[in-house]
């Protein structure tokens, strides 16, 4: 273990690892500062680098982007009242009010420090929980792994709370796509129409790039640019501004915000955009000056910023230990493992312990890099937030096409990206969420492989999934996740109709 720790740490702390982290942080800050560009899209754009960079170096870049992306969204939220990412939505409530009062420097400093400290708390959770959980998960066989992945897919339910059926449909559509290509057990070609490029299956990365990026490109190009007034802001000083974090109310906001972020991050499928509002609300309720929230008080920045950064560490726990994503960004990161030919989940800790430690150290470094670069680069990021859509989106489109092409030097892959882009646009148009489909694409192959392997082990007897306790628990939990919203809907509908019936009776009596 010590060897793996030293090996992982030395890779993450090598000059290549630190440079990759720095580049990732710069991209993350710039991407999240640009309204409309999400962290997921930034991640998608650098994902092709998984092919050309060694895994630990590529991961240093991804983690830098992830950590900095959580921080960078706050800059435009505070200064322009335009959240750079959905995770920074709650920050603008009090942050922009402070900026309007001429306290922009202080507000940004508080956001950066809160992000950093929240990120460290999330990282601590990852370091403490992940190895222990992975040790337990190492004893799992094919039926348990199937049940866990099945559970991961039912997270669709939480990703698509507005319409469970549409979420499930999108997820199953992703599963259908993964059945194209060679059969995982017999090697028989399925649905390939004798077309050779399809025999390896639908390339995962171009499909994901298309689903995520093309709808954003189209949306970005379909709007008129609006000039933002750039406020004049003195560059905040890093250590001097730390005093702004003093006081019990600030510490309380930080601890509660980070706690909420950590908890929501660990729960698969919820993510930072939800965490920030839950944290903001909790901190407001617990605060001695709860009525001042919304008028521009520092605790209103500390709560969401510490929460969204805590999510980034905590969301890695289910991804690394069980192979199921904690949020949208970790769903994309899960794809990075697949591109590198690495199986995420408990086996990762056994087969690639040095990579796990490189990831743990890399995330810590990413938080420190974000802190340093966050203070230093504020004027540049403000400039980045003003990049016109007419300039930005054509370049993003080129990056998506060239990135997809470069994976195998194949125009077919670029075409796949565009086809899935159209599918993504249609899904957005008709209210089918894209994230469950990506989950289906990411988890589908393993789901089938473990299912078939389990049946082979059980000599074709499907009761193998119900006779092993862990498998049974996860399958029951998955079924509960699927069935509960339907039952709740039926019950509430009955209550509504009986209430209407009673109201009708009373009206008739009167």
């Amino acid at each position: 273990m010590l060897d793996a720790l030293l090996s992982g740490a030395s890779q993450a702390l090598s000059w290549q690892g630190l440079l990759a982290s720095l580049v990732g942080v710069a991209i993350g800050l710039a991407a999240s500062a640009m309204p409309g560009v999400t962290i997921s899209l930034g991640m998608i754009l650098v994902l092709p680098l998984s092919f050309v960079l060694p895994a630990p170096i590529a991961w240093s870049m991804f983690l830098g982007l992830y950590a900095a992306g959580m921080m960078g969204g706050s800059f435009s939220a505070i200064l322009l009242n335009i959240p750079g990412t959905p995770s920074a939505s709650a920050t603008s409530i009090d942050g922009h009010k402070m900026a309007q009062r001429g306290e922009a420097g202080a507000a940004v400093s508080i956001a950066i420090w809160s992000s950093f400290l929240g990120g460290i708390i999330g990282w601590l959770c990852l370091v403490l929980v992940a190895p222990a959980l992975a040790r337990v998960a190492l004893s799992f066989g094919a039926p348990e792994l199937f049940a866990i992945i099945f559970f991961g897919l039912t997270i669709i339910a939480t990703f698509s709370q507005k319409s469970m059926v549409k979420g499930l449909l999108a997820g199953v559509l992703g599963l259908l796509v993964t059945t194209i290509g060679m059969d995982p057990i017999t090697g028989t070609p399925r649905f390939t129409f004798d077309y050779v490029p399809l025999q390896g299956g639908v390339p995962f990365l171009p499909a994901m790039v298309g689903l995520f990026a093309v709808p954003q490109i189209v949306a970005g190009l379909s709007v008129h640019a609006r000039a933002f007034a750039l406020p004049k802001t003195a560059r905040p000083r890093m250590f001097e501004s730390l005093r702004l974090m003093r006081g019990w109310e600030m510490v309380k906001a930080l601890l509660v915000g980070s706690g909420v972020g950590t908890w929501i991050g660990i729960v698969p499928g919820v993510g930072a955009p939800v965490a920030v509002f839950v944290a903001y609300d909790y901190v407001r309720r617990l605060s001695a000056r709860s009525k001042s929230f919304g008028t521009g008080i520092p605790e209103g920045i500390v709560a969401p910023e510490s929460a969204n950064s805590a999510v980034s560490g905590a969301a890695m726990v289910p991804m690394l230990t069980l192979g199921i994503p904690g949020d949208t960004v970790t769903a994309v990161l899960l794809g990075a493992f697949l591109i590198q030919g690495i199986q995420p989940g408990p086996i990762l800790f056994q087969n690639h312990p040095d990579l796990v430690y490189a990831i743990l150290v890399g995330l810590l470094m990413a938080n420190f890099m974000s802190l340093l670069l966050g203070f230093w680069s504020l004027p540049i990021m403000l400039w980045a937030s003003r990049v016109r859509p007419q300039t930005l989106w054509p370049l993003v489109a080129i990056m998506c096409i060239v990135g997809s092409y470069s994976l195998r030097n194949s125009i077919f892959d670029a075409g796949v990206m565009l086809v899935f882009g159209v599918i993504g646009m249609l899904m957005n148009r008709f209210g089918l969420p894209v994230v469950p489909m990506v989950l289906g694409l990411v988890l589908g192959s393993n789901l089938e492989e473990y299912f078939r392997m389990s049946l082979l082990v059980g000599r074709g007897d499907a009761t193998i999934f119900f006779t092993r306790p862990v498998s049974l628990v996860f399958i029951l939990a998955s079924l509960a996740l699927i069935v509960w919203p339907f039952l709740r809907g039926v019950v509430s509908q009955r209550r509504r109709s009986s209430a209407q019936h009673e109201r009708g009776l009373t009206e008739r009596k009167t």
């Binding site: 059926v165 059945t179 399925r190 190009l221 709007v223 640019a225 092409y405 075409g415 148009r429």
Partner: protein, 162 residues
């Protein structure tokens, strides 16, 4: 609600086509294996079931679900209609000509054309951005990441003739 029914019907057709394709799969089984068709059958079964639920259920969605990835109108301005199809068409043309005229010329043309078409009216700035961005992307991929980009079969042919 009516829209959900239409979506459900379209997805039902997709499911039916997929089910037909499953029946065309060759049957090869290892001992104790369930065969390559079982998982597709199970998956399409769930897909058809969900499509039917979408058709028959009373909708309480309240319209299109907001995704994390959408660009909100308040953030960036007023949306323009009909641009989606043209953007996709432009990207398709760019992908189609990429192997024939090469990365540099096609990317330069695409970047400049898209910026102008999207409403940018600063000719000099647009040209500079298109040239610089194309060069930066080309150098990053070919020199830093060692990924060869298409040089263009037509251009290669022309150069050979010359």
């Amino acid at each position: 609600m009516r829209m959900d029914r239409k979506i459900g019907a379209v997805l039902l057709i997709v499911g039916a086509v997929y089910a037909y394709l499953i029946t065309q799969l060759p049957s090869q089984r290892m001992p104790d294996d369930v065969g390559e068709a079982l998982v597709p059958w199970l998956t399409v079964g769930v897909f058809v079931l969900l499509s039917l639920i979408l058709i028959v259920k009373k909708s309480n969605d309240g319209g299109v679900e907001a995704e994390e990835i959408t660009v909100s109108e308040e953030q960036t301005g007023r949306p323009r209609s009909g641009h989606g199809v043209l953007t996709i068409a432009a990207m398709a043309v760019y992908i189609a000509v990429l192997p024939y005229i090469g990365f540099f010329i096609s990317t330069l043309a695409f970047a400049f054309g898209m910026m102008r078409w999207a409403g940018s009216r600063r000719l000099g700035v647009d040209v500079v951005i298109a040239v610089v961005a194309t060069l930066v992307i080309q150098l990053t991929f070919t020199e830093v990441l060692m990924v060869p980009l298409p040089t263009g079969s037509w251009l290669d042919g022309l150069l050979k003739h010359a």
